[in-house]
């Protein structure tokens, strides 16, 4: 495979990448590998990172499909194995499924806007924007249903959203740079 090879996107490619990244999101949630204990109470999550990676690699439709799988799984998990009172809120699809559909689209838009300027930077931006979409939309939906007062939401968004955005940006860059073999300037990355 040459470094500059442009991989053509076919239906098979879109379906498989969406399926594989969807599986990864489910796997991270199921095994709790995707949760990192955090001082602010609620654990940090990186379950949405597969959505961002899929959107960056294969575009917004694939990103939305992975977001749908991620959302459906978190709905199922909230119904089947609730881990506390917060999970009960996620039994509502408007909180658990709907916000997740937009992660991929926003991440892809951010990536596309900056891709030709500086690709690693574009990946960082995609990771941050995708995460913030998740945080802001899920918290807004929680506020909309009156589970938490609106005033309580911005501190949560900052305490959890910002570190999650940082983790997502690091992971997105690490994976996509290695996968696409983007030259980061310092040295050529290899697998």
């Amino acid at each position: 495979m040459s470094t500059e090879a442009v991989v053509q996107s076919t239906p098979a490619r879109k379906i498989v990448i969406a399926g594989v990244m969807g599986a990864l999101a489910v796997f991270l949630g199921w095994t709790h590998l995707g949760f990192i204990p955090w001082v602010a109470g609620a654990a940090l999550t990186i379950m949405h990172v597969p959505v961002i990676i899929g959107a960056v690699l294969e575009g917004p439709v694939v990103g939305t499909a992975i977001g749908l799988i991620f959302g459906l799984f978190s709905l199922l998990q909230a119904v089947l194995a609730p881990t506390g009172p917060v999970d009960v809120w996620f039994q509502n699809p408007v909180i658990s499924v709907l916000p997740r559909l937009f992660i991929g689209v926003v991440a892809w838009l951010g990536y596309k806007a900056l891709k030709n300027v500086n690709e690693p930077l574009a990946l960082v931006v995609a990771g941050i924007l995708g995460t913030l979409t998740n945080t802001v939309l899920v918290l807004s939906a929680i506020g909309l249903f009156g589970h938490l007062p609106w005033a309580a939401l911005p501190p949560i968004a900052i305490a959890n959203g910002l570190p999650e955005a940082a983790l997502a940006a690091i992971l997105t860059v690490a994976v996509v740079v290695a996968w696409k073999r983007i030259e980061t300037g310092t040295r050529k990355s290899r697998m």
């Binding site: 098979a12 399926g19 599986a23 799988i69 089947l80 194995a81 506390g84 570190p163 992971l171």
Partner: protein
């Protein structure tokens, strides 16, 4: 460090298939999928003990007909029990349900254990068991291929309004197929790194930077190896000229028989009764009966 730490999906029975060639195995997967969805809806919507008992009876009858030992189904719920007990305790303590006409069983400091609390805990357990067993029954009796075809057939109306139903059903199938592969790959990576001195057992402390730095050498190779495997699958599909759902014909066609309609009708009637039980006075009757036996 115990060996079980590497066995990520061992205790999960949900998602397995048990071929016992029963009438439920032979039933139309579309009917089974719809029945499963209705069960989830009915059980989450109701908060009536009588209704949930009825739903549990339906699921247990299903296990009997499917010739699946109930003990096997029970083992699937075992790993979740401690956690469920915790949730039950939380519910009993944190949510005060002190109506005037409830029996107080036990009182200590600010904790009052009333009949209402006992009911809330019973409801939690019944709801949870009905859901897990209902979905287990679906997965025990239906192969992944049947599930995929069933989903695709059910989503077909969406295809008419332009949504990619076929593609999404196939995506779900790929995802289901890759979850055990991901578990295998993760085990392999964890063992390889543990043998080089990595310590995944160190869940101590809240040092989240350290936790995350441990995850990076696991997650990055995991995602890259998975993408590599995805490339193989893409190549295999393209070599067989797969071009998406348009104009594609199907090898499998479902023909619902009388038995399938009968099964669907039975499930609908029972679940309607599950929902209705909360409205009528059946609940108070059941509750009174239980309290009488208790005394």
């Amino acid at each position: 460090m115990s060996a079980s730490e590497f066995e990520l999906l061992r205790t999960v029975t949900l998602g397995q298939y048990l071929p016992t060639a029963s009438p439920i195995h032979r039933a139309d997967p579309r009917v089974k999928l719809v029945a499963g969805m209705l069960l989830v809806l009915a059980v989450t919507a109701t908060s009536s003990l009588a209704g949930l008992t009825l739903a549990l009876a339906l699921v247990v009858a299903g296990f009997a007909v499917a010739r699946i030992p109930i003990g096997y189904a029970l083992s699937g719920i075992k790993p979740m029990l401690p956690f469920l007990a915790l949730l039950g305790i939380f519910q009993a303590i944190a949510i005060p349900q002190n109506d005037a006409n409830t029996t107080v069983y036990w009182h200590w400091a600010f904790i009052t254990l009333t009949a209402r609390d006992a009911l809330a805990v019973a409801l939690l357990f019944a709801k949870f068991s009905a859901l897990v067993w209902g979905l287990s029954l679906l997965s025990f009796t239906t192969t992944t291929t049947e599930l995929t075809h069933g989903t695709e057939h059910l989503l077909r109306p969406l295809q008419r309004i332009g949504l990619p139903a076929h593609e999404f059903a196939l995506t779900l199938n790929v995802a289901l197929r890759f979850i055990p592969l991901l578990a295998q790959e993760t085990e392999r990576l964890m063992k390889a790194q543990a043998s080089r001195g990595a310590d995944f057992g160190a869940g101590r402390g809240w040092n989240f930077v350290r936790r995350f730095r441990k995850l990076i050498p696991l997650l990055v190779p995991l995602i890259l190896a998975t993408l590599q495997r995805a490339e193989d699958l893409i190549l295999a599909m393209e070599a067989r000229c797969y071009t998406g759902g348009k104009g594609r014909t199907h090898l499998v066609h479902f023909h619902a028989r009388t038995a399938d309609y009968a099964l669907l009708a039975l499930v609908v009637v029972v679940l309607a009764a599950v929902m209705a039980a909360g409205i009528g006075s059946a609940d108070t009757l059941v509750w009174r009966a239980i309290s009488t036996i208790w005394r």
